[in-house]
């Protein structure tokens, strides 16, 4: 009866393949397609990162950062890859890792800072996600201390 095993696995495999092909294209939720993390570099600077999964991209001009209670100055966004958009003109996109410096307007040594990060991106399969506002809270190191650890939105009790 051992010969039944391969037959059985074959039938199961066929059933499985049928199931996958009839479902919508497998898309990552935006939090996984564009993974946000951030750390305090020093008492005056937050570093935000997006890890963009393969096959996905973010728009540079739709990325916005703000902090509280100490407000942020303008974020320093790295140059993206130029892309011509028929409606919006020349835009830039990010793939892979995006590292953004968010300078604070004054020192926040030892304080809790909440970072608000807005982003919007798409998948190469031809689908875009709505603008995604996220936030995370981190503790800024004392003046002269090492950079803080990376924090992700989920790890601080943030729920969508």
């Amino acid at each position: 009866m051992r010969w039944l095993l391969p037959l059985f696995s074959l039938l199961l495999a066929t059933a499985h393949a049928e199931g996958v092909s009839s479902l919508a294209p497998k898309l990552l939720p935006p939090e996984q397609a564009f993974r946000l993390s951030a750390r305090a570099l020093d008492a005056n600077t937050i570093e935000a990162r997006f890890d963009v999964a393969d096959g996905y991209y973010l728009y540079r001009d739709r990325m916005h950062f703000a902090t509280e209670p100490v407000p942020a100055a303008n974020a320093v966004l790295p140059p993206g890859k130029p892309k011509h958009d028929a409606f919006f003109g020349d835009v830039e996109t990010y793939r892979g890792e995006v590292v953004v410096r968010v300078p604070l307007t004054k020192t926040a040594a030892g304080q809790k800072i909440t970072l608000h990060a807005d982003s919007q991106g798409c998948a190469d399969v031809g689908v875009c996600y709505p603008p995604n506002p996220q936030q995370l809270t981190l503790v800024v190191p004392a003046a002269g201390d090492k950079p803080g650890a990376f924090v992700e939105p989920g790890s601080k009790g943030w729920f969508k």
Partner: protein, 189 residues
């Protein structure tokens, strides 16, 4: 394959017929399970027919702020497209919809765009594209509705096709290819 070790395990003299019965039984059960599974998957697939009454109950403002009830197009083959100007793949497929509206409108097709966007941007893009079907502004409620119709991630474009009886006959996440659209409309008109 059917070696001596297997025979040694079973009750030796009556082994063969009983084994055959067991095999037939196992195959029957496997077939039944597969059949139920496939039927279940088909029920949940994009082409399963679902009740579209929630779609026809939507009332949304157009770009001039006037409230438009989707129920006014009851009885037509209704193609409801969720889109936004910030969604390039959405904008890229819309000329196809404009052409289909011009070609099949008289036969009873009505396209309706629900933009998850600012009215100003929608108005500007509609003008540029010479949009020949209504562009409504969809808020939170419209996005939630698209989620109940299978668009869990609220991604765009998302298109649903309702037949003249108001049944959802197709849902599409991502671009709706011209050939697929033509086939869908051909079947419903």
């Amino acid at each position: 394959m059917n070696g001596g070790d297997a025979t040694a395990i079973g009750p030796a003299p009556t082994g063969q017929p009983r084994r055959r019965a067991v095999i037939v039984g196992v195959i029957a059960v496997v077939a039944l399970v597969l059949g139920i599974g496939v039927a279940f998957l088909h029920r949940n697939s994009a082409d399963a027919v679902r009740d579209g009454s929630a779609v026809l109950k939507l009332v949304l403002p157009d770009t001039n702020g006037r409230q438009q009830a989707l129920a006014q197009w009851r009885g037509k083959v209704l193609v409801v497209n969720f889109w936004a100007t910030w969604c390039a793949p959405c904008r890229e497929e819309m000329p196809e919809f404009v052409a289909a509206q011009a070609r099949d409108g008289a036969k009873g097709v009505q396209f309706v765009g629900i933009a998850v966007d600012d009215p100003d941007k929608v108005r500007a893009f509609a003008k540029e594209l010479k949009l020949n079907y209504p562009a409504l502004i969809g808020g939170f409620g419209a996005i939630e509705l698209s989620k109940t119709l299978g668009n869990d991630l609220a991604a765009l474009p998302f298109t649903i096709v309702l037949d003249r009886q108001g049944r959802v006959t197709h849902t599409q996440l991502g671009p709706l290819k011209q050939a697929k659209l033509d086939a869908l409309l051909g079947r419903l008109l």
